[in-house]
């Protein structure tokens, strides 16, 4: 995976990253320790972090020449953060960072191919077995912002992918596709994956 150049801003996305911080950093700047070498230019994180049962959406990362970055945090909602245990503790290492451009371009390529190949298919078995669909699932949480953008145009076929990526069916029990889409979008919005 190649990183962004030093002379142009890039957006990057973080799935899970480690936070080394005080217990209470809400509304405050904190220090993030990362384990990946791509964080070199001005960028924006669209992921979220978990911390001790409360949480913040990462709105902006201020970079510096060193490997220590400053996070500007905006508290959104204490409800949306997954339990710290789900992330293996708030000191868990393992940053998953890819340039947003690369993720979005690849997702669009895959989704367009899948759309074209399954344009008239009603079979969920057929469209979830399509190689492009499986690759989208394999992209994991980082693909969610782009999948959520695309969801309203063709919602129901993406529900199995969403469940596979997230690991639970957020729309479980939804009687209609419209209700299921709302449930997914609200879930995504609360976690910073959807706008």
């Amino acid at each position: 995976m190649s990183g962004p150049s030093n002379d142009s801003p890039h957006q990057l996305e973080v799935d899970v990253f480690s936070v080394v911080a005080e217990d209470d950093y809400l509304g405050d700047s904190v220090t993030m320790e990362h384990t990946h070498g791509l964080l070199t230019t001005p960028w924006v994180i669209t992921g979220h972090i978990a911390h001790g049962g409360s949480g913040s959406r990462v709105e902006q990362l201020e970079t510096s020449p060193t490997s220590t970055k400053r996070l500007l945090l905006e508290t959104i909602n204490r409800e949306w953060v997954r339990p710290v245990a789900a992330l293996g503790g708030y000191r868990r290492r393992g940053i998953n960072v890819r340039p947003i451009e690369a993720v979005s371009v690849r997702f669009r390529q895959l989704a367009d191919r899948w759309d074209a190949d399954t344009a008239f298919s009603s079979s969920a078995h057929e469209f979830v077995a399509h190689p492009a669909y499986l690759e989208v699932i394999g992209m994991g949480l980082q693909v969610l912002p782009f999948l959520f953008e695309r969801l309203p145009s063709k919602p129901a076929p993406w529900f199995p992918a969403l469940r596979a990526i997230v690991g639970v069916d957020v729309a479980d029990g939804a009687e209609t596709a419209e209700a299921a889409m709302r449930a997914w979008l609200e879930w995504g919005l609360a976690r910073g994956y959807a706008r």
Partner: protein, 150 residues
């Protein structure tokens, strides 16, 4: 709405048959739901189901993607097997299609006019003259026709 070259490429019989697009593309329901009269969700035998999907048969063997399960699904709506797709005014008919491997692919429903209606995946709804208009490469052949009193 007028015809569509992409539809006619996917369904070559539509070139010969009369058809009309009757709705915009909509990814909230599919052909099985549409044939069943439901335009709010996807009908498909996933096991387990996900939110926004529906299948009237119970989990387990009822969720296998087989013609007999599709027949049983429409039977829950009062349909039973019949001999032909010809119009019989007292009855409403559905046709279930299977691909070359015998796996269900599509369903269409007959109107009182004798025309048939199909939802094409997550794409548009159309009316077409015969069940065979949407058969062929995409959906295979009609495997069974069912009817219920109107």
């Amino acid at each position: 709405m007028s015809g569509s070259p992409s539809l006619e490429r996917a369904f070559p019989s539509l070139r010969r048959g009369e058809y009309r697009i009757t709705s915009p593309a909509d990814g909230r329901y599919n052909c099985i739901a549409f044939a069943a009269g439901d335009t709010t969700r996807y009908w498909w035998p996933l096991d387990p189901l996900v939110g926004g999907y529906h299948w009237p048969l119970p989990p387990g063997s009822g969720r296998a993607c087989t013609l007999s399960n599709f027949e049983a699904a429409f039977a829950t709506l009062g349909y039973e097997g019949c001999e032909s797709a010809e119009l019989e005014l007292p009855y409403e008919k559905v046709a279930i299609y299977v691909g070359a491997n015998g796996v269900p692919t599509h369903a269409s429903r007959q109107l009182a006019s004798g025309a048939w209606i199909s939802k094409l995946g997550s794409n548009v709804d159309i009316t077409h003259r015969t069940p065979e208009n949407v058969g062929g490469r995409a959906y295979g052949d009609v495997a069974i026709v069912m009817r219920r009193p109107r």
